[in-house]
Assembly symmetry: C2
Homo-oligomer: 280 residues x 2
Amino acid sequence: MNIGFLHPGAMGISLAVSAQATGHQAFWLPEGRSEETRARAATHNLSELDSLADFCETCDIIISVCPPHAAVKVAHQTLEFSFKGIYADVNAISPEKTKSIHQLMTSKDIEFVDGGIIGGPAWEAKNTWLYLAGQKAAEVAACFHGGLLETELMGPEIGKASAIKMSFAAYTKGSTALLCAIMAAADEMGVRQDLEKQWSRNGSDFTERTHNRLQRVTAKAWRFSGEMEEIAATLKSAGQPQGFHLAAGEIFHRISKFKGADSIPSVEDVLEALKHDSKI
Amino acid sequence: MNIGFLHPGAMGISLAVSAQATGHQAFWLPEGRSEETRARAATHNLSELDSLADFCETCDIIISVCPPHAAVKVAHQTLEFSFKGIYADVNAISPEKTKSIHQLMTSKDIEFVDGGIIGGPAWEAKNTWLYLAGQKAAEVAACFHGGLLETELMGPEIGKASAIKMSFAAYTKGSTALLCAIMAAADEMGVRQDLEKQWSRNGSDFTERTHNRLQRVTAKAWRFSGEMEEIAATLKSAGQPQGFHLAAGEIFHRISKFKGADSIPSVEDVLEALKHDSKI
């Protein structure tokens, strides 16, 4: 089958490679994408197409894999052409937003699958899970069975795959943002060293792990900001407070400037960025 | 010396016992306190006094150890009498609130010490730390040197002990509240089992630890709600978002009804309580 990816970043490329390993051809659309993405696609032999019109003609299944804020736009763009296959949105968006894209697709008789990815890019086994929900979920899962991506079927109900993705990321990313805020506050109040000493009592490596989390998240913070808004909306719809993740979004916004940085910033650089922002 | 405790709960009693072990006499004021507290004070041989007037006359040092929302009230009540010793506020309150109590005390020529306690009641060594700041911090620390309570001096600046207490609790209690919200949302969305399965991958005991945290926090949630407001104010003053801990306060408010429960509630009971509240 012909599987199209809109628009593969580090994660999307690894999905495309899993589809190739299963015996499918993986397509992408280079127009408007970065040099880094082009190089990645070339390295992994993704097939280029020149226009979204061609893409919609060629592909049997389209996988939307992009930053959360772009998910609805990508869906609308696809609807402008006569796509007749399965459209799978595997982005980090709320179940409600997923359902709205489902409705869009259904209005044009396009089969829709809800997806959510947990883990980093799928370059090793048992490390990355694609959760899938919807009537055609098994068909999308079958695209990847020969690769390193793990798949999990969540039944026919659209929203379930997004729900588990949001729930899982709510803690991993929410707690990282919380630590960022606490470290910056402790530093501002002049008690960071004392806090780190307390965290290190009884031989704990909590301080080192926290430093590592602050430093490593900087490369991805630019897109986590939008994801936190999706998680906030998800918790609100489920009757829980949205404040944790609105605050987390603000934190990731403050450190979004590290996108594409040449090297991993120091803890001090991260704290400096966390302390300077116009909004609170 | 005569050390007075206003108003010892589980933590305060353990402080009083550390003071006794150091050779001091520990006083308390039974008026208006619960049967449980009276039984605890009797077990540990605290000395009763009949009135706050007597208390202020008798004690060389007063330790205010009470729920956060009561800290200012206890300070004002003490000022109505002619106390002439050292007043140490060791409560979980923001540095700003601590400074306001400091000003109250200074206006009556009472020496003030800022304190913050990290850890549970001090019934074993290396488990509970009393951080102290202010000109007389060392004198308050000396009250406990013969007991199981560890003390740490933070220098003369009022607010530093509260700052580290707030920073430390911001993560331990904030992340517990975050997990409560996520578990309740996942349950509401019908993906809790899937989330717990994902958390348990690769042999992790994260699900068991999370269940344990949800269940154990219920007994203390009634006073954590106010502490979260103090932490939110602390982060805001330090230039960070307050949303994490306002949300955490809401979460603890929802499960505050478990105060004094005869047994530890089931995970299902905790989730049920988390789902029902008038405010969001």
